[in-house]
Amino acid sequence: MHSLTDIEVQALTLRAEDIRESIIKMLLEAGSGHTAGSLGMTDIFTALYFRVVRHNPRHPEWVERDRVILSNGHIAPVLYATMAHAGYFSVSELKTLRRFGTRLQGHPHRGTLPGIETSSGPLGCGLSQAIGMALMDRLEGHKPDRYFYCCMGDGEINEGQVWESFLLLNKYKLNKVISIIDRNTIQIDGYTEDVLPLESLKDKLESFNFHVIEIDGHDFKDIVRAIGTAKSSLDKPTVIIAHTIPGKGVTQFEGDYRWHGKSPNEQEAKEALKELRTFRGKVKFGEL
């Protein structure tokens, strides 16, 4: 994978802003849901679905696809919005989020919406599933060449099951598992270092013998480069600590843990959309 050109970065940036707009709109429509994490992970999901991951939105069950496992299911809005923009289903369906009868359940459900690899919401479960998938992939001799991306939250790492999974990941040295930790430093009750300190996270992960890369989770070049490096690691699993800003893209949401589990009201959404559409006032509204 070659590094991104400036034009490619620009295209991904525009794409990410579209996805952020969809997230704001769908959360407003739903009246509940998780804003901060969804916006914070938008650039990474954009990079995954529009650059990195081998997948086919027309054939979600394609066996040769890479698997994207969303472990912290509460940021489902970013997964749904990215999938819709990638062509899995119509963008207009996004407004059904959390409604009765929807395929876009409040937390993802495998089986309801094609392309969802697993049900998640209760935290800490994703990495172990990525391990199970990668073990079977190894049993099949890594044919076809598939990768298993596990996206998880930093608060989620409080869960004991994650540490059980780290032990297993080290035991089996599954280099095809690429974990991406959303290091946005917030969880429901406050900042992660106040609720249950994780630092030094990098040291902890390195002590498990993982290949650990720290990145700016909003820098497309950084994201794509890290995944490229992860793929070239043949002996160790890679864990990417992605430093992100919760609520990224909207000044009033950024860095405020109270937006973890809250959705915007009409006025807040209007302001957020205006800010997104104008790239924070850099371009005039209506030019895009």
């Binding site: 697993t118 800490g124 994703g126 391990i131 199970g132 998938m133 073990l135 004991g160 032990l167």
Partner: protein, 329 residues
């Protein structure tokens, strides 16, 4: 009527149900190379050692990580495999219930959960290791099928069967050797209930009462002994095995209910939530009649020999017979 000829004879044979599971897993592994196995540091105890030796690359030792093991198994199943994951029932499904619910049952993937050393018959290990709530917590989960084999033969046959189904399944196993109750020729009949013992008209004339004992697991041996005892008193008892607690063979249950005055359920489990509950729930809506339930009455177990514990917790043939008499009056 299905009952092994040697039961209650000097030739009676004994074997733990977990051993039948181990044999079944070997057969399933032979038949289908997509059958894989996981264990949380109890491989010999849960009788996966044969599979480990023969299919080394398809066996995964997860260490004592029941929660992660559930996720790993779910991931394997979503790649098109049939994982059997085993531990003691107290730890799996005891400790990892939510993981089983969300990542296995809600995902609706064919993970086969094997809970060994269930029931109070684990004996000396005491209450911490005596799972007597496992059937209840598994039965409540949508898509989950629940099996309680009565002997090693049924455990083998059920294991072979679940390896062919697409549902998540739970199989409950026990530690101690218990009598073989079924003939070698026994075949799985899609979870249907069946008669294991039918009271004989030895003393001439009709029985004063007709009763069905419906049970699951090795405790059916005690149930049959109780039926023999009651027969002498003129109480005609049919002993029925319901090896599949969920989905329950309600058609058969309803037919049985029409023919008897009362039903007594028997299981080595809390009286709440298990087979007895399933039977009572169904009949109270469809065909109300007296149902008595034998099981552990809202208590924790304790250390002791199996015989001492069966006596203390009211699970012997004597207690079952008494429950039948009470239920009739």
């Amino acid at each position: 009527m299905i009952l092994r000829k040697t039961v209650f004879t000097p030739q009676q044979e004994e074997k733990p149900t977990r051993e039948g599971f181990g044999e079944g897993l070997m057969i399933a592994g032979e038949k289908n190379e997509r059958v894989v196995a996981l264990c949380a540091d109890l491989t010999e105890s849960v009788k996966m050692d044969g599979f480990r030796a023969k299919f080394h690359d398809r066996f995964f030792e997860t260490g004592i990580t029941e929660q992660a093991m559930s996720g790993v198994a779910s991931g394997m199943a979503s790649m098109g495999y049939i994982p059997f994951m085993a531990s003691y029932a107290m730890f799996s499904p005891g400790r990892n219930w939510e993981q089983i619910r969300t990542t296995i049952a809600y995902n609706n993937v064919p993970v086969k959960i094997v809970g060994a050393h269930a029931g109070i018959s684990v004996g000396p290990d005491g209450a911490t290791h005596q799972a007597i709530e496992d059937v209840a917590i598994m039965r409540m989960i949508p898509t989950m099928e629940v099996f309680v084999p009565c002997d090693a033969i049924e455990a083998r046959v059920i294991t072979e069967y679940v390896a062919t189904t697409k549902s998540p399944s739970y199989i409950r196993l026990t530690r101690e050797k218990t009598p073989l109750l079924l003939p070698d020729s026994y075949v799985w009949n899609h979870g249907r209930g069946y008669v294991m013992y039918l009271a004989q008209h030895k003393h001439g004339g009709e029985f004063t009462h007709k009763v069905a004992i419906i049970g699951c697991g090795p405790i059916l041996y005690e149930a049959i002994k109780a039926a023999m005892e009651l027969e002498k008193e003129g109480i005609g008892v049919t002993v029925i095995n319901m090896p599949q607690v969920k989905p329950l063979d309600v058609g058969y249950l309803l037919r049985v209910a029409h023919e008897v005055r009362a039903i007594v359920t028997v299981e080595e489990h809390q009286v709440t939530g298990g087979l007895g509950s399933a039977v009572a729930e169904y009949l109270s809506e469809q065909y109300p009649l007296r149902v008595g339930r034998v099981g552990v009455n809202d208590r924790f177990g304790q250390s002791g020999k199996v015989s001492e514990l069966y006596e203390e917790y009211g699970l012997t043939s004597k207690h079952i017979a008494q429950k039948v008499r009470e239920t009739l009056h």
